[in-house]
């Protein structure tokens, strides 16, 4: 590796460096201000905002960082900086900033004031892991970033230690995570044994060779998918999701369901696009290398994921657990965008993610504000809340309707673009299955509304009025969900600008 190359690469990872510096400042502040911890959330929020500036600066830039091979004309790096990566980094940044605000409003987190420094430091660890996961183009780096993300989230899942469920969530997450990352590592070792390289681009050129061992390659890629599928909680690897989401503190649940999933999707899309796609047709369809039929496997997985998620959610009485199953179902919908293997599908995923971020974080915010007051997430305890606390109930109603995908909310637009992409790729049967799934999901989302509005409020029904800052945060999430349901052109334009994945 040449020195000049190294200097130049440093410029490409400035957002990650800024994050690391903010992390160190956080740790030092935690050490210095032993008694007054008020400043720590402030530092965390500022660090995230400063990182956002540098991420936006990377927009429209394309290039490799940390190239390893200098002797060949085409040198592929360990990191790819492109608009696609910037988009997902922004998703992570925005959701982490909202999570910091959520943590300030959460009673659960505020009870652990003496360890609050660790809390934000671990969140920074997660963000750093996700950043590298989004840009990594080397199997070793992918594995390392996945572990960085996972290890921080294992600790955070059991952070508050208030209930037994908390430690249960942490331990379950750790066990499932250990198994799937072990499987992934095994897959990576097989791919390395087959091709002699860990770089995704070099692997891509090598597996176009017809003499490659097909069985081993498919086996290895399925194993690698186990690691990624665990992060996005897709069908055969989703068992941890409900338990962890229910047991973890609600801010972390929200973070896992949005940011961690976004990073997993970014990794999956980049992996499929760079390893298994040989070229892009003029219509924007991706042509798969004839080694392994990723498309049908992904179709099966996505249909399984959304069906399992939706049907399990029907029986849930705990709202957090229900939202966990619903997030599994949403992972299934988003996988459909990848299934069509076209730029149109990719645009649909990006649009869906922007909307999913708003509505899912919003739903968790409302659940948290209500839980702060009544200390429960059971749907039965929501009886009559619609009459006593109108702001929270109306916003929760909007978020849930949006999660179902009904107009005039933004969730409708997300689903609409996904289904259009499916129909354009002539996968009408899959589109119909997804549509039926949405109908199923309507039942359990509307059930919450039934409890809130159709059961009369009694004298014991609490009246929950959020503080001004929380109300503003809530409005910041609600209003875009309504506006983007009608005026969605900017979302689509932005998504179209962000589909550039550094290819061959």
């Amino acid at each position: 590796m040449e020195l000049a190359n190294l200097y130049q690469s440093i410029n490409l990872i400035i957002p990650e460096i800024v994050l690391s510096i903010a992390l160190i400042v956080l740790v030092i502040a935690d050490l210095i201000f032993h008694t007054n911890k008020k400043i720590i959330p402030f530092i965390a929020g500022t660090g995230i905002l400063v990182t956002a500036i540098f991420v936006i600066n990377q927009f429209n830039y394309i290039g490799f960082a940390f190239s390893t091979a200098t002797h060949t004309a085409r040198s592929f790096g360990m990191l790819a900086v492109d608009s696609f990566g910037v988009f997902f980094k922004l998703i992570v940044i925005v959701s982490s900033f909202i999570i910091v605000l959520l943590s300030l409003a959460s009673d659960e987190i505020q009870k652990t004031t003496d360890r609050i420094g660790e809390y934000y430091a671990l969140i920074y660890g997660m963000i750093l892991g996700m950043f590298f996961m989004i840009t990594a183009t080397d199997l070793i780096l992918i594995y390392l970033s996945l572990e960085l993300l996972s290890l921080s989230s294992y600790v955070l899942a059991g952070f508050t230690k208030l209930r037994d469920r908390n430690s249960e969530a942490s331990l379950k997450y750790l066990l499932y995570g250990a198994v799937s990352s072990g499987l992934m590592l095994f897959g990576i070792s097989l791919v390395y044994g087959l091709t002699g390289s860990t770089n995704l681009y070099i692997i891509n050129t090598l597996i176009q060779n017809p003499h490659i061992n097909l069985f081993t390659l498919s086996f290895a890629t399925i194993l690698i998918f186990a690691g990624i599928g665990y992060k996005i909680s897709s069908a055969p690897f989703h068992f941890w999701t409900p338990d962890v989401y229910e047991g973890a503190p609600i801010t972390i649940t929200a973070f896992l369901s949005v940011a961690s999933k976004a990073a997993g999707f970014a990794l999956l899309i980049r992996f499929v696009k760079t390893v298994f796609v040989s070229y892009e047709t003029n219509e924007g369809f991706w042509s798969l290398i004839e080694v392994f039929d990723w498309q049908s496997i992904l179709v099966v997985i996505s249909i399984l994921t959304m069906t399992l998620g939706n049907f399990s959610a029907l029986w849930q009485n705990n709202l957090k657990r229900m939202l966990a199953y619903s997030s599994i179902a949403h992972a299934g919908y988003m996988l459909l965008g990848l299934v069509v293997l076209s730029n149109q599908g990719l645009i649909a995923i990006l649009i869906y993610f922007m909307i999913y971020l708003l509505m899912n974080l919003g739903a968790f915010l409302v659940v948290m504000l209500i839980a702060n007051k009544i200390n429960s997430e059971e749907i039965d305890d929501y009886n009559g809340l619609g009459f006593t606390s109108p702001l929270l109930s109306v916003s929760l109603a909007i978020f849930l309707i949006s999660l179902t995908g009904l107009p005039p909310t933004a969730g409708f637009i997300g689903k609409l673009y996904l289904f259009i992409a499916l129909v354009d790729a002539k996968m009408i049967a899959v589109a119909i299955i997804a549509l039926l799934n949405s109908v199923v999901s309507l039942y359990y989302y509307v059930r919450v509304l039934k409890h809130m509005y159709l059961v009369k409020a009694t004298a014991s029904t609490p009246s929950i009025i959020p503080s001004t800052s929380n109300a503003i945060l809530l409005l910041v999430l609600v209003v875009p969900v309504l506006i983007f349901g009608v005026y969605f052109q900017p979302l689509v334009e932005f998504a179209k600008d962000c589909i550039v994945i550094l290819g061959i």
């Binding site: 020195l3 160190i24 740790v27 050490l31």
Partner: protein
């Protein structure tokens, strides 16, 4: 004649090894005299009589110390290649190395400040005569 690959040879070696161990163990059992006594059946502890159960609980602090050791162990591994290419990198490499060491030192300071290096000492309990007598009595009753 079937040609063996390199892995085939290893396979034959593994099979032979297993068969050899099984046969020798079986032969031993067949020809050795079998006269067990109380002393012979005891757990072997370097000739001493075993004291208590071997399932002793280790203090969890040992793991913290092991973790801290691991970090500095890895540090040394990373510093060797850094020292080898030091001339090539010059001041730049020196600064990078110092930053790396500072971050590690910060981790150490963090552990220190948070009290993870404090060894949990058992509270000294002065023995009280009555308690000792009582416990002796209850032990005698058990016997």
């Amino acid at each position: 004649m079937v040609m063996l690959t390199e892995f085939g040879k290893i396979l034959i070696f593994i099979i032979l090894a297993i068969v050899f161990v099984v046969i020798t163990l079986f032969l031993n059992k067949l020809i050795r005299p079998n006269r067990p006594t109380y002393e012979k059946k005891k757990v072997y502890e370097c000739g001493e009589n075993p004291e208590g159960s071997p399932w002793v609980k280790f203090n969890i602090r040992f793991y913290v110390v092991a973790l801290i050791f691991l970090i500095f162990d890895v540090e040394v591994v990373l510093l060797f290649p850094w020292a080898l290419t030091y001339k090539e990198f010059g001041v730049y490499g020196f600064v990078v190395g110092i930053i790396f060491l500072l971050i590690l030192a910060l981790g150490m300071a963090y552990e220190w400040r948070k009290g993870d290096l404090e060894w949990a000492r058992p509270e000294p309990k002065p023995p009280i005569l009555d308690d000792l007598l009582n416990s002796n009595k209850s032990e005698e009753r058990k016997k």
